[in-house]
Symmetry: C2
C-alpha cells in the first residue's frame, strides 16, 4: 500500500473518532455538538502535524492555512465533518481528508506554492439537527440570516444560538466569520457522489456543473380525530386515509418526469407526523414533508403544481382540508466553467476518466459559489448509499480524489498569472 | 333546572377539575398521573358528602360503598376518570358521575337498599400513556399480567410499576386488588356512546349486547434509507412509498365489509412511525399500527388475511420487505342477557326508548364481565365525537342515564330474592 493510501486510511479513522469504519450504527456527529467538536479537534491536530496554521472563526469553522505570503491570493479547499443521525463516515469527511492529504502530497514533494492554500472544515453542514443546512459556509459567504435562524431549535429545544455558543463560537458576532471577496481567490470541494453515475459510466471522477437545490413542501391534512372503534367508516374524516395516496402520486410523477425528460427529477415524501398518533384514535391531522430536486428549476415547479392539483382533488373528494406550505425554494446553483475545466484538466493529467455531471444534493460549495469561482469534485461511493451506516468509499477512490486536488493546487498555486 | 341536573352539572365540573366544560385543549388526565389522582380525590370527596365509605385498593381503584349489611351481596356500578391526551370530559367521567348521582337520588328518596351498593372509580382505563388499557379493572377481575406489564414504559421511560407506586398504590401487591367471585353480585357501567346510533334511532339509551375487541397489528416495511437528492427514482427502496397504498386499502376493505355485511367492521391505520423521518433521507423503515374492530370476530380475521395478502403483493412488486405482527387479538365480549333485560326494563319503567346495540370500543366492563354478570349502558354524545376536546354529552342525557341506574339499583337491591 502506498504511503498516501495508508495515511488516508489512518486519518479517515481519526477524523471519524473510531478504530474501524465498520460500525453497524454508523456515525452520529450532529451540528454544533460535542461530537462535531471532537472531530474538529482531530482536524486541527492533523493540520498541525502538516505544519499548517489553524484558527477557528466565529461560526465555528476550522481553517488550516499553508501561508506563503500574506499578500498573495488564497486558494481554498474544504468540506465538513458533521453527519446526520446514524450516517456514514465519508459524507463530508472525504472532502476534508482529501484536502489535507493533497497538502501532504505537495509538502512531501517539497512543492513551494506561490499562493496561500486554505483547507476549510465547515461547521454544521447537515440539516439533521436544526433543519437548517450549511450554517458554517453560509456564514463565510455572508448568507446567514441571523435573525431568522437565532430562534430555530433542535428536537430538545436548544436554539442554534445556544448551540453555536456552547461549541466555542460566538453567535453575537457570527457575522464576523464572513470573508471578503478578496480574501479567497477560488474554492473547491470534494464529496462522495451519493449516487452511481460515475460507476455506471466507468469513470473515476465526477466534475459537477450544477447543484440541484430543493423545493421543500409541508403538506398538512386537517381531518377529524375520533374513536377508531366507535366511528363508522362512512362517518369519518380520516386525515391519513385521505392524504396517503399523495405518497404514491409523488413517486409516480417523479418517475414519469425522469423517464420522459432529459434532466431527471427526484421527489420524496420523506417525513410524516400524525396527530394524535394513538392506536385507538382516527388520525385528525397529518403533516407530510416533501423534498423535490432537479437542476431544471421549471421541472421542480411543475411538480409542485401537480401536487397542488392532486391535493385539491383529495380535498374535494374527502372533505379533508389540505394546506401546502413552501418551506424552501432555492434555484439551482451552476458552478464556474473555468474551475470545471481546470479540474477536468487535472484529472486528465493523471490519466483519470472524468464525468461531467450534476449534483442532486446540496453542499457547502453552493454558498461559496455565490461569492467565489467554485468547483465540486465527486468520487464514487459504493452502490450510491449515503446518509446510512453502509455508506462506503474505497481508499483507492479517496486516493484518486486526493491526487486530483493536489494536481489542481499545483497548477493553481505553482505560478502567479498576471499579478 | 331540577335539583339532580344542577348537581350533575356541578359535579361534572368538579370531577373534571375545571370551572367550565368549554376548554379548547380538552382534558388530559393520563393513567396514574397526578392529574388522575386529583380527579380521584374529588371522587372521594363527593362520595364522602353522600356518606359513602371510601377506600383505595392496591391498583389505585377508588371504591365508594353504601354498606347496608356486610353479609349482603354487593351490586357495583363504575367507570373511570382518566383520559387520553386532549380528550373530552365525558368519556369515563359520565359513568362515575351518574353512578354517584343515582346513589344521591336513592338517598334523597330515603330508599333503604337490602344489598350493598359500590361505586367503583377504576384507575387507568385509557391506553394513551402506557399502551395498556383498563389496568384497574383488570386488577379487580384478576386479569392483570403482572410480569408482562411491569416493564412497560410510557414515552418518558417511566414504568407502569413506578407510575402505580407514585400514584400511592402498590405494584408489589397489586394482585391483592383482585375481588373474589362472591365479593360482587353484578356490575354495570354507563358510558357515552362515542357514536351516533342512539341518536340516529331516536332512542334515549343504548343497552349493549357485545363489545367489539380489537385486533391490533404492527406492520413494518423495511426498505433502504438513502439521500433524497442523489438517489434516482428507479434505484430506490422507499419503505413509505411502498407501504402507503395499504392505508387506502384498509379503509376501502372496511367500507366494503361494512356495506355488505350485517355486522359492521371498522379498521384504521392510526399510527405511523418513519425512520429516519428526515427531509433529505428516503424513508428506510416504516411502522404502521392498524386497529380492527367488529363484534364479528371472523370478520376481523378476514380483514387480517386481506391485509396480509395485499402486503405480500406490495413486497413482490417493490422488494420492500413487509412484516406483520399481531399486538392484540381479543375476542368480542358478550354481556349477560339477564342484565340487558333488567336495564331494558328499567328504561321502559321510566318511559325511555332503549336501543339494543353493540359497542365498538372497549370498556372496563369487558374485564368485569369475565367474572360477574355485567351490563353496559350508553348515553348519546354529540355527533359521536369522543377522544377529542369537542366531546360533549347533554346534561339531560346524563340525567336520563342517572335515572336508569337509580331505577336498576332500586329493583336490584330493593328486596333480597331467594336469600
Amino acid at each position: 500500500m502506498s504511503d498516501i493510501r495508508m495515511w488516508l486510511e489512518k486519518k479517515l479513522l481519526q477524523l471519524n473518532l473510531t478504530n474501524s469504519m465498520d460500525v453497524p450504527e454508523g456515525f452520529t456527529r450532529l451540528s454544533y455538538t460535542e461530537d462535531e467538536a471532537r472531530a474538529h479537534h482531530e482536524f486541527r491536530s492533523i493540520a498541525a502535524d502538516l505544519e499548517l496554521s489553524t484558527f477557528t472563526d466565529n461560526a465555528g469553522n476550522q481553517w488550516a492555512v499553508w501561508e506563503t505570503d500574506s499578500n498573495a491570493p488564497t486558494v481554498a479547499v474544504g468540506s465538513h465533518l458533521d453527519t446526520v443521525h446514524n450516517g456514514g463516515g465519508y459524507d463530508g469527511v472525504a472532502g476534508v481528508l482529501c484536502g489535507l492529504a493533497a497538502v501532504k502530497i505537495l509538502k512531501d514533494q517539497h512543492f513551494t506554492p506561490q499562493k496561500n492554500i486554505a483547507i476549510i472544515c465547515f461547521a454544521s453542514e447537515e440539516s439533521a439537527r436544526f433543519g437548517v443546512s450549511t450554517i458554517g459556509s453560509k456564514a463565510i459567504a455572508g448568507l446567514l440570516d441571523k435573525e431568522e435562524q437565532a430562534g430555530v431549535t433542535d428536537a430538545e429545544g436548544t436554539t442554534i444560538k445556544d448551540a453555536v455558543n456552547s461549541f466555542g463560537a460566538d453567535w453575537d458576532v457570527i457575522e464576523q466569520a464572513e470573508q471578503t471577496k478578496d480574501a479567497l481567490e477560488s474554492f473547491i470541494e470534494l464529496h462522495i457522489e451519493q449516487g452511481t453515475r460515475i460507476e455506471n459510466n466507468n469513470a473515476d471522477i465526477g466534475i459537477v456543473r450544477g447543484v440541484a437545490c430543493p423545493i421543500r413542501l409541508k403538506v398538512t391534512a386537517n381531518g377529524m380525530a375520533n374513536h377508531t372503534g366507535t366511528t363508522p367508516m362512512h362517518a369519518r374524516k380520516d386525515a391519513f386515509a385521505a392524504i396517503s395516496p399523495l405518497v404514491s402520486f409523488v413517486e409516480q410523477e417523479a418517475k414519469m418526469v425522469s423517464s420522459t425528460k432529459a434532466i431527471p427529477l427526484v421527489a420524496t415524501v420523506s417525513t410524516v407526523k400524525l396527530w394524535p398518533n394513538a392506536m385507538n384514535v382516527i388520525p385528525g391531522k397529518v403533516e407530510f414533508g416533501i423534498d423535490i430536486r432537479s437542476v431544471d428549476d421549471a421541472s421542480k415547479h411543475n411538480m409542485v403544481t401537480a401536487i397542488t392539483a392532486y391535493s385539491a382533488q383529495i380535498e374535494a373528494r374527502t372533505g379533508v382540508e389540505i394546506v401546502i406550505d413552501t418551506l424552501v425554494d432555492n434555484n439551482s446553483v451552476f458552478l464556474a466553467p473555468s474551475i470545471q475545466e481546470k479540474l477536468r484538466q487535472a484529472s486528465q493529467n493523471l490519466g483519470f476518466k472524468s464525468l461531467l455531471m450534476d449534483s442532486g444534493a446540496g453542499h457547502d460549495v453552493m454558498n461559496m459559489a455565490m461569492k467565489w469561482p467554485s468547483g465540486l469534485i465527486f468520487i464514487p461511493c459504493e452502490k450510491g448509499i449515503s446518509h446510512h451506516p453502509n455508506e462506503h468509499a474505497r481508499l483507492e477512490d479517496l486516493q484518486k480524489g486526493t491526487h486530483v486536488i493536489a494536481e489542481y493546487l499545483r497548477k493553481e498555486t505553482g505560478e502567479i498569472h498576471g499579478n
